[in-house]
């Protein structure tokens, strides 16, 4: 849903400059909304390395379980298809 917000002249000028820079790089119009998304997503992933709290044994177990679930789903799906024929 689209929202209308009020921002200061200073912030408007700042985000407009970013939108202008992106517009130059992309060669197409860039909206303020897209410029805000760019700023929002420009936080780096780097600091999240190792952020999960999970012993190795547990990590291995949940990873295998996920693969097994997909495999089970496929097996089930194919069995149903076979039955329909």
């Amino acid at each position: 849903m689209v929202k209308t917000i009020k921002i200061s002249d200073e912030n408007y000028s700042w985000i407009s400059k970013i939108a202008g820079k992106l517009q130059q790089e992309h060669g197409e119009p860039v909206s303020i909304d897209r410029a805000l998304s760019y700023v929002h997503k420009s936080k780096e992933l780097t600091e999240l390395a190792g952020a999960w709290h999970m012993p190795d044994k547990e990590a291995k177990k949940v990873k295998t379980e996920l693969k097994d679930r997909w495999a089970a789903y496929l097996k089930q799906y194919l069995a149903k298809q076979k039955k329909k024929k």
């Binding site: 790089e25 390395a49 190792g50 952020a51 999960w52 997909w70």
Partner: protein, 133 residues
């Protein structure tokens, strides 16, 4: 703005969050030049993994923080249509495709992204999909 478009798969993101050296190095390298994305399905898988751990609240929060920093590729009717076509063709050829891998691979290819994965073998059935070294 970064020029490359790289989509990181669940397994690599999981290894990254677990501080596995190879994944940490690869993602640090990718981040220098690329717009980092992942798929909506990987988001689902990461939440599933986090839910099953002994500290679900903390791990779910980490996933939320991670996806805020990434572009999330959404499935479209066009990507699903293409994936279904490929899945059916591969099935007829008895190639045993995995539904998940075909859905993800076709979406990434269609959005002109390169996939970064710890398991390159699983995407070999998606023709034309570019895989990060």
């Amino acid at each position: 703005m970064k020029q490359d478009k790289i989509c990181i798969d669940t397994d690599m993101l999981q290894d990254y969050l677990l501080n596995k050296k190879k994944a940490v190095e690869t993602i640090a390298e990718i981040e220098k030049t690329a717009d980092c994305a992942t798929t909506a399905l990987s988001v689902f898988e990461l939440f599933c993994i986090a839910e099953q751990t002994e500290k679900p609240d903390e791990n779910i929060k980490v996933v939320e923080d991670l996806i805020e920093r990434m572009t999330i590729l959404q499935f479209t009717s066009a990507s699903c249509k293409q994936a279904a076509k490929l899945f059916t063709e591969l099935q007829k050829l008895s190639k045993k495709p995995e539904i998940r891998d075909i859905l993800v691979g076709v979406l990434i290819k269609q959005q002109n992204y390169i996939i970064a994965t710890s398991d390159k073998e699983r995407y070999k059935l998606v023709p034309g999909l570019k895989i990060y070294k």
